[in-house]
């Protein structure tokens, strides 16, 4: 049976069915539609002309597609791009990924800046952190450290290149997994904060935007396929057996039962209305580094503080007792709801 006609241009043979709608499209039309949708998201995410945009580049499929699409759209949007890559210091994994980023930057002629954990965080690389946390039992908390520190490193890198905005390659699947996870662990604060297309940049942090937020992972991979993008697709050596795995598995099943489930979840996340009491208190500034923080220390400083004091699990996990021992006294008035006995630690 020959492939059906493209539903958009009615000329070429269709080369794929769009995962979200089931439409049969040819490669060109799909790429055009994909780019139009990203443009739509970006415009709604308020990337203004004249903005200097730092693209968080990991070398993986999402950031590769993001950088490619934004490069296509940059003249129309009137923005200039800066690639910012973070070197977490993970032996045998990051070097290869960074090589991919370097190749991309050279091919697209985009300026690339690499910031390393080692330089930013007083010599801590992820490998060192992993060794330190392994002593305290579960090594899967690696991703907690890495995630927090990477966010900080990206922000630092963006400032370094004089960026006015930060964009990341989070796709719809990531968003959907996150909202499922937040419900399963009862994180009302994050639910209240989540949704939307990023943050407008409160308290001195750079405005963030997730242009791929409405594109499902399948579409991202399809786009990379049709544009013949070269990306790095290995999993991190510390990739966790964490709770996200449950959510991811569920999401895959849901998507199989109903292809639009991913977008439906994103829609739900955007429309959640939480009681004012559940919303997190207005963020303050970290007493050590001045970054955005909801407590006395920002999470990055709290984690580094724990690492430096040889108690890496201080700032994560249950009962954060002793976290502020050496630091500033704990903020009064912030009442933590008691954690029931068997909440899984993710």
């Amino acid at each position: 049976m020959p492939a059906p006609q493209c539903a958009s241009c009615h000329k070429a043979r269709a080369a794929l069915r769009r995962p979200c709608s089931g439409q049969a499209l040819c490669g060109t039309c799909f790429c055009a539609a994909f780019e139009a949708e990203v443009l739509h998201t970006v415009v709604a995410g308020r990337l203004l002309p004249g903005a200097v945009v730092a693209v968080g580049a990991s070398g993986g499929k999402d950031s590769t597609v993001l950088a490619h699409v934004l490069r296509e759209l940059a003249p129309r949007l009137g923005i200039s791009l800066q690639l910012v890559a973070v070197d977490e210091g993970i032996g045998g994994y990051r070097d290869a990924a960074l090589a991919a980023v370097r190749r991309q930057a050279a091919r697209w002629e985009l300026p690339l800046t690499v910031v390393a954990y080692e330089d930013l965080f007083g010599g801590w690389t992820m490998d060192a952190v992993a060794r330190s946390t392994a002593g305290s039992g579960r090594s899967r908390s690696c991703c907690t450290f890495c995630g927090v520190l990477r966010r900080r490193a990206l922000e630092e890198g963006a400032r370094l290149v004089g960026a006015t905005h930060v964009v990341t390659g989070h796709n719809a699947d990531d968003m959907a997994e996150t909202v499922l996870m937040n419900f399963l662990r009862g994180d009302a604060g994050r639910l209240a904060r989540g949704g939307g297309l990023g943050s407008p940049g409160e308290g001195g942090a750079l405005p963030r935007c997730r242009p791929l937020q409405l594109a499902s992972q399948k579409e991202v991979v399809l786009y990379a396929h049709f544009r013949r993008l070269d990306y790095f697709s290995e999993e991190c050596v510390y990739a966790p057996e964490a709770f996200r795995g449950h959510a991811r598995h569920l999401l895959k099943l849901l998507e199989a039962a109903r292809p639009s489930a991913v977008l439906d979840l994103v829609h739900s996340a955007e429309r959640l209305a939480l009681a004012p009491a559940a919303r997190p208190p207005p963020p303050g500034a970290c007493s050590r580094c001045g970054a955005l923080a909801s407590r006395a220390l920002c999470q990055a400083c709290a984690l580094l503080d724990g690492l430096d004091r040889g108690r890496p699990r201080l700032a994560i996990g249950k009962g954060r007792r002793g976290r502020d021992e050496g630091g500033t006294p704990r903020e009064p008035g912030r009442v933590r709801t008691p954690v029931p006995e068997a909440v899984p630690t993710f």
Partner: protein, 520 residues
Amino acid sequence: MCQVGEDYGEPTSVGPPPPPPRPGCELKCVKCKEGLPVVVIRVGDAFCRNCFKAFYVHKFRAMLGKNRLIFPGEKVLLAWSGGPSSSSMVWQVLEGLSRDSAKRLRFVPGVIYIDEGAVCGQSPEDRAQTLVEVKRILQTVGFPWHLIALEEVFSLPPSVLRYFAQEPTGTEGAYKAAVDSFLQQQHAPAQGEEQLTEPGTQGLQTPAGPPTAAQTEARPPTAAQTEALSRLFDSVKTLTAKEELLQTLRTHLILHVARTHGYSKVMTGDSCTRLAIKLMTSLALGRGAFLAWDTGFSDERHGDVVVVRPLRDHTLKEVAFYNRLFGVPSVFTPAIDTKAPEKASIHRLMEAFMLKLQAQFPSTVSTVYRTSEKLLKAPRDSSAGVPAGPRCLLCMCTLDIDTADSATAFGAQTSHLSQMPPPTPPAKALTAPCCSAGEGRPQGCCQVAGPCGREDPRACIIEQLCYGCRVNMKDLPSLDPLPPYIRAEAQLRRQRAWVSQEIQEYLIESSDEEAHAGES
């Protein structure tokens, strides 16, 4: 193993018998410290029979007492499916009404049973068999009852889908006043009242409205209706959409019965476990804006009839144990997803996932449930000024689709695009560019399509739906088999919108709000 046991000298191990005394001697009920525990609800909390009953009953009454929503003397319709949870609820009400006067529940109950056999693959004989069983239980319960076949949806009036504002009843003060006046009334003819409740079974024939109606409505549906119903459900492509459609139709039927017989509250038997599953399911179906309506204690989306969920503090496990220990009768009927594989629908998937996770992490359900209590019914950033936006035709929630919010518009747009029926290219050719290019204005083409939509009833219905219902309707290739009241109401609403649009230019606007209100 046997050999090892023999090696270690049987006589010694038999002498002091370790296994038998464990349950009886060491463990006592955690509440009264003396009773023999029969059920462990949470880890380490073993209850004796009486304490478990007190605990269970207290939870039910506390849920009603805490919320103060049901006024004394109010007519309450109990939605009974025959399953364990709703049976337990009916039983609680029955016991609550027969208690001594101080603690007695003071509302006037009725029971509704909806016979869904036609869509759950039951043969006419099976259905008759089930109905016999259902009637037997209803007779022992003795409340006025309404037996309705799902086929009745084909004779519903369009007004079911309308919102009827409820006169504000006030708060605390009003409730107290109502209770006081009720008690005063009670005191005068105290004896007479006793008699009125006691012959509940005969009461079936005597009072005017409900019982006779119940008898007439219990008539078997016509074969044509049954066929129309199964044609409707057969045309739905996915089990997910079937389950949602069934739930929608069921809600409409219950609402209709409640309205015609003057019930102002409907009680459903959703347990905490069920609600946690429902919450996650709704989330995955794109109903994020309505989670608080779908799972909260009270659901006022219909205005005059409020849905109440008094069992929402009970876990499914507690319900099951209570029903077993105290012999609560229930009827087993196959549901629409019975025997369906786990991956067949979002509902089934989510149920399996939650129960599996609950087995691993025993606080999963309660965590989700407690999070649901922090949700608000108002839309995310609504000014309180405009409560009466247009409502979804099917689920009757305030529409969550607008052009302002980019991501939502985008989501709606994609679902809209794929709904564009391919067989009508010429008519759509003009509007198509605006849709496919559609940067940020997906709704724009709908408005353009206003006049031409008159011959396209599908677009007419779709544009009046919320996000979640739109996604569901994608799985219906044709909306023709839908019951007539849905199409009729859609037409009606559209005409009203059309007319108000016509007069729009002659209106002198003083603010933006009025323009919004005019659309509805």
